[in-house]
């Protein structure tokens, strides 16, 4: 073994060029695999994390709200004894409570309060304890810092508890001592949780049981079994088994759609292929130089297994040196640079935790590519007899073929075509790798161009938007907090302001039709299935119940008519003039579901709806992006709490709702604006302070913290530009790595071929091939790679253009310039290679090269 190691080190020292190329191949391959796997893994985990946050916890599932004959501790103990259960915890939805503090004499309404059976549940619900301790007694409570910034540990607070979630009227006061504070993770459904009490002592009415299993397999079955194990102790109806949608295989399938899986597999195969060709090329060249030695060793008794072992030992040692470097670079480039860039693009946030499996998979795939490829050339020896190997009488490519019935007089072109036919893979695979790099660059550049174009059109409305905002989201600012007319006038009079438009808001209730009631009932079923009929979503859920019972709560917006052409009503496309009627109409923009999936929900085009006693024809919106409606709607509590958004022309709105207040002020700079007005607006808002708001707003909860917020188109633009730059950086980086591997493959194939064919070149020169013909021949052989790349690009560019067009739902033109540049680079490279091959050939005289084998 030591001898083998020593021999391996000797071989590495003696063939340092080969070793360097192998190491480079290993490093590039590992970096590419790390990047690809890192992006795939982080995208999936980000999605899972997002779903966990949305669901408010990271448990695998839960047993729906139910009453039990046994105390909570006994039920949980029984569940915890099940072999597949890792943790079983219980939650009491204490309900939508009110809270009062003796010290501050403040009453806050509509608070969500939960009882937890164990302090460990805090982390499962994404709640981080910042101060104090978890409540241990029946009269202790932990508070959310964001809801209760003024309370301190030891304060006595009164909570009006509700017996059941839906029994709004049945509340009773109870005093608690504050034991600590927590903060909810950003984006978590639990961020609306105002207080946590000790569940064990408060779980008298009923509870939901949350389960964490030892693994995520067969979650449905396990919850079912868990319910069965306690079925005898349940009072009343058997509760539902609720799976945390973050772990649903269906979601994963949706995420890993066939195109994504294909893209991932394709990337893995192409990287594997490109790296393999490079390594095969390197060891082929080595074998060509070394075949007589190999033959001699064979004659002396070295078996094929021993030959392989020697090569594997060499490749293994090189892997040992270079793989850590590749993985480290992969971690830096892939995980630290590309993954955060990808993260900045999507709405799903990555966890930032390094996934060790990414490194393991990257290492395994890289090692496989190297070890499999390194011994591949040894197959050439297998085709020889030992003595043929000793004499270096290697058979080449088409030697196994029958006769070639050609009577052509071969010139340089004939020699080139025969060489390509002899070993097409050596030319095709690196060329495909290069063309894919070109394609990736073209795709990246085109996608960025499309997105830039989209921004230009999406951002074609106002430059600024002023609206009232409170830090405490539970204060319903849109139930009356409007900007005063005086403040609106002050904005209008500000220097540099070109136009100001008010957007007015009113809340109304309209009767739901039978179809809408049915739709709401359907939606309720869906919410129940998804486990969203819980305490976090209860506000929206309540609206659904109201709709199912026959009343739709509407958040009615009045928008100036000139803005309707800037609303992307149908899948991000803007309406033509004939789509917006002159008379009275209403746009049903749907209720909150997911930001990217806002639809008309209860309404369809052409429906007639009665608002404020007047009938309107409905235009139902379908999907939208960064348009003015979204920007306005996003900060409306009424909207995010499940109300149906209805948009009326402002003049119609003012007739119907004379008391509708200005919720948003849209402001424009002259000529499209470049952001100069922002500072003036900030100063104006600061100087007006709370006096910018109507009396109605002040009475909501004393107006403390109420302020005018400025949303600027320029901030959005900056953010989107940042995202586009991130996409470009990721695309160009991956393309660059792929291009490097491809180029190394092409160079190596050319040099390996030249090294293997030195005698052939000598023969050709001896029979009359001139230097220029020799250069032309090697150039021609390498130009084939360029042709392959050109063909691949010619086929794939239009194909990708079509795919991209359908993906973006717009006409996309793939920029041919990157491909032309890449082909140009490849052509120059081919020329350079032919010069190098020629120079290498010239290192010995023709006479010396003719004699080599004699």
């Amino acid at each position: 073994m030591i001898e083998l190691f020593k021999d391996t080190l000797r071989r590495i020292r003696n063939h340092h060029t080969r070793s360097v190329i192998v190491c480079l191949a290993v490093i590039l391959t590992a970096v590419l695999y790390s990047a690809i796997f890192g992006i795939a893994s982080s995208t999936l985990s980000a999605y899972e994390r997002m779903m966990q946050l949305l669901n408010g916890n990271d448990y695998h599932g839960s047993i729906g709200y139910a009453y039990y004959k046994l105390p909570c501790e006994e039920i949980l103990a029984r569940l915890n004894r099940l072999p597949y259960v890792k943790e079983a915890d219980a939650v009491t939805p204490v309900g939508m409570g009110m809270m009062s503090s003796e010290e501050n004499d403040l009453i806050t309404t509509s608070l969500r309060i939960l009882g937890f059976s164990d302090s460990r549940m805090m982390s499962h619900f994404f709640l981080n304890m910042t101060e104090g301790r978890f409540p241990e007694k029946e009269d202790e409570v932990m508070l959310s810092h964001s809801f209760f910034p003024d309370e301190i540990i030891g304060s006595r607070v009164t909570i009006w508890l509700m017996k059941k979630m839906d029994s709004g009227a049945e509340s009773y006061p109870r005093e608690f001592t504050v034991t600590g504070f927590y903060e909810a993770e950003i984006g978590s459904g639990a961020s609306e949780l105002a207080a946590v009490v000790n569940g064990t002592s408060n779980l008298s009415e009923g509870m939901m049981i949350y389960l964490k299993f030892r693994n995520r397999l067969n979650t449905t079955g396990k919850i079912g079994k868990a319910i069965d194990s306690i079925r005898g102790e349940i009072s009343g109806d058997v509760p539902d088994a609720i799976i945390n949608t973050a772990y649903l295989t269906g979601n994963l399938k949706e995420r890993m759609n066939p195109q994504t899986v294909f893209a991932l597999l394709f990337s893995v195969i192409i990287i594997f292929g490109a790296a393999s060709m490079l390594i095969v090329g390197v060891y082929s060249a080595a074998l060509s130089q070394d075949i007589k030695t190999q033959g001699l060793l064979w004659v002396l008794g070295m078996t094929e297994k021993q030959r392989k072992r020697a090569i594997w030992a060499e490749a293994g040692v090189l892997l040992l040196f270079s793989l850590p470097v590749g993985l480290l670079l992969g971690y830096i480039i892939g995980w630290r640079m590309l993954v955060p860039l990808m993260d900045s693009i999507g709405t799903d946030r990555v966890t930032g935790r390094f996934d060790v499996w990414v490194a393991v998979f990257a290492a395994v795939f890289t090692a496989l590519a190297v070890l499999v490829s390194a011994v591949k050339p040894l197959n050439r020896i297998r085709k020889l007899t030992p003595i043929e190997a000793v004499h270096g009488e290697e058979r080449h490519g088409n030697q196994d073929r029958k006769w070639i019935r050609s009577r052509k007089t071969p010139g340089v072109g004939g020699l080139v075509s025969r060489e390509i036919v002899r070993n097409p893979r050596a030319h095709i695979i690196p060329a495909v790798s290069v063309s894919l790099a070109a394609l990736l660059i073209a795709l990246t550049s085109s996608a960025a161009a499309v997105m830039r174009e989209n921004i230009a059109s999406d951002m074609r409305m106002t430059d600024y938007q002023l609206y009232p905002s409170m830090e405490n989201s539970l204060v319903m600012i849109d139930s009356g907090a409007g900007l005063t007319e005086e403040f609106c006038e002050a904005v209008k009079d500000l220097d540099g302001v070109e136009n100001v438009w008010p957007v007015r808001v009113a809340v109304d209730h309209i009767p739901a039709t039978a179809a809408q009631k049915a739709l709401a009932a359907e939606e309720i079923e869906y919410w129940r299935g998804a486990g969203w009929d819980n305490e976090y979503f209860s506000v929206m859920y309540r609206e659904l119940i109201a709709a199912a019972n026959g009343t739709l709560t509407c958040c009615v917006l009045g928008i100036p008519r000139e803005f309707f052409s800037a609303l992307s009503l149908k899948n991000d496309s803007y309406p033509t003039a004939d789509m917006i009627p002159e008379g009275d109409f209403v746009i049903a923009a749907g209720m909150w579901r997911e930001l990217e999936d806002m639809t008309g929900d209860y309404f369809s085009d052409g429906d007639i709806v009665t608002i404020g006693g007047q009938a309107f024809s409905v235009i139902a919106s379908k999907g939208w992006s960064y348009d003015v409606t979204r920007r306005i709607a996003l900060h409306l509590y009424m909207y995010s709490s499940g109300s149906q958004l209805m948009i009326l022309p402002l003049d119609v709105f003012e007739t119907l709702y004379p008391d509708g207040y200005v919720n948003t002020l849209l402001v424009d700079e002259p000529d499209g604006g470049i952001g100069l007005l922002r500072d003036s607006l900030v100063d104006l808002c600061a100087s007006w302070g709370e006096s910018a708001f109507t009396d109605a707003a002040e009475s909501a909860d004393g107006t403390e913290g109420l302020q005018a917020k400025i949303m600027s188109r320029f901030d959005d633009l900056e953010e989107i530009r940042g995202q586009i730059d991130s996409i470009s950086a990721v695309g160009y980086s991956l393309a660059g790595l792929l291009f490097l591997i491809g180029v190394l493959g092409i160079v190596n194939a050319a040099l390996a071929s030249s090294s293997a064919r030195h005698r052939e070149f000598a023969l050709l020169e001896a029979v009359g091939m001139t230097d220029s013909q020799l250069r032309l021949m090697t150039f021609g052989e390498n130009v084939f790679s360029v042709l392959v790349s050109a063909v691949v690009l010619a086929i794939s560019l239009p194909l990708m253009t079509r795919l991209l067009s359908s993906g973006f739902d717009t006409v996309v033109k793939l920029d041919p310039v990157p491909s032309i540049v890449m082909l140009g680079v490849q052509l120059v490279l081919s020329f350079g290679i032919s010069i190098i091959v020629f120079q290498i050939n010239r290192q010995k005289t023709l006479s010396e090269r003719v004699r080599i084998d004699e």
């Binding site: 058979r395 080449h396 490519g397 088409n398 030697q399 073929r401 006769w403 070639i404 019935r405 050609s406 009577r407 052509k408 007089t409 071969p410 010139g411 340089v412 004939g414 020699l415 025969r418 060489e419 036919v421 002899r422 005698r759 052939e760 023969l763 050709l764 020169e765 001896a766 029979v767 009359g768 091939m769 001139t770 230097d771 220029s772 013909q773 005289t845 023709l846 006479s847 003719v850 004699r851 084998d853 004699e854």
Partner: protein
């Protein structure tokens, strides 16, 4: 006519200096079949390579049909070789990925000339390999490969054919067969043939025998020897 003047070739420098050819003066007239013999390392192949312009002399010159090879630039020298000199080597004579026909016509192709099919067929028939015209090199025996190489050397109708140990890898019967072929062609086409060989027996079949030792000609059966 081939003429060399004080042809010298020195390899290496200082202590590694090796005088492979030491002032050889030689004249071979048109239509002669000269065999160069001598022990290994005596300079036979070096002489042949210098005659064929695939190596450059340290001193002296080679003149073929009035053209001093040392005055030619690389590409004109290659073109001269392609048109006026045919080469036959001991091994690796054929391009592995071309068939017999293509190997034979390769020098013409490199010169941009399309081969006359009848002429090629004739040449293949003369050499007894007409049936193998579409075979690939590895499908031929050693003797057949050498015949293809000879056909290729003759296809451009060169004035001079240089054969560097053409029978080195062949058995005695096949060797005899190949040399007889060369003799026959020499008689029929009146081409000048210079053949390097180890074999005294085969050398006897040539019209002139030149013996070399230590880079010098020590005996020459021909009148042209100086």
């Amino acid at each position: 006519m081939i003429e060399t003047k004080h042809l010298t070739k020195i390899y290496g420098t200082d202590e590694n200096r090796l005088r492979a050819l030491d002032g050889v003066d030689l004249t071979i007239t048109r239509g002669e079949f000269a065999a160069v013999v001598g022990p290994s390392g005596c300079g036979k192949s070096t002489l042949l390579h210098l005659l064929g312009g695939i190596d450059t002399p340290t001193e002296g010159k080679v003149v073929i049909d009035g053209t001093d090879l040392s005055t030619l630039a690389p590409d004109p020298l290659t073109i001269f070789r392609r048109r006026h000199i045919g080469f036959v080597f001991q091994s690796f004579n054929l391009v592995p990925r071309l068939n017999v026909w293509e190997n034979v016509t390769l020098p013409l192709g490199l010169d941009g000339i399309k081969a006359d099919k009848a002429e090629v067929e004739d040449m293949l028939s003369i050499l007894g390999i007409a049936e193998k015209r579409f075979a690939m090199p590895h499908q031929l025996s050693g003797g057949q490969q050498q015949r293809v190489a000879i056909a290729r050397a003759l296809i451009t109708k060169p004035h001079v054919v240089l054969a560097d140990e053409p029978t080195g890898n062949l058995d005695s019967k096949t060797s005899l067969d190949v040399v007889l072929t060369l003799c026959r062609l020499n008689e029929k086409l009146s081409q000048t043939i210079v053949m390097v060989t180890h074999s005294e027996e085969l050398a006897q079949m040539a019209s002139r025998r030149i013996r070399m030792e230590d880079g010098r000609i020590v005996s020459d059966s021909g009148e042209g020897t100086k």
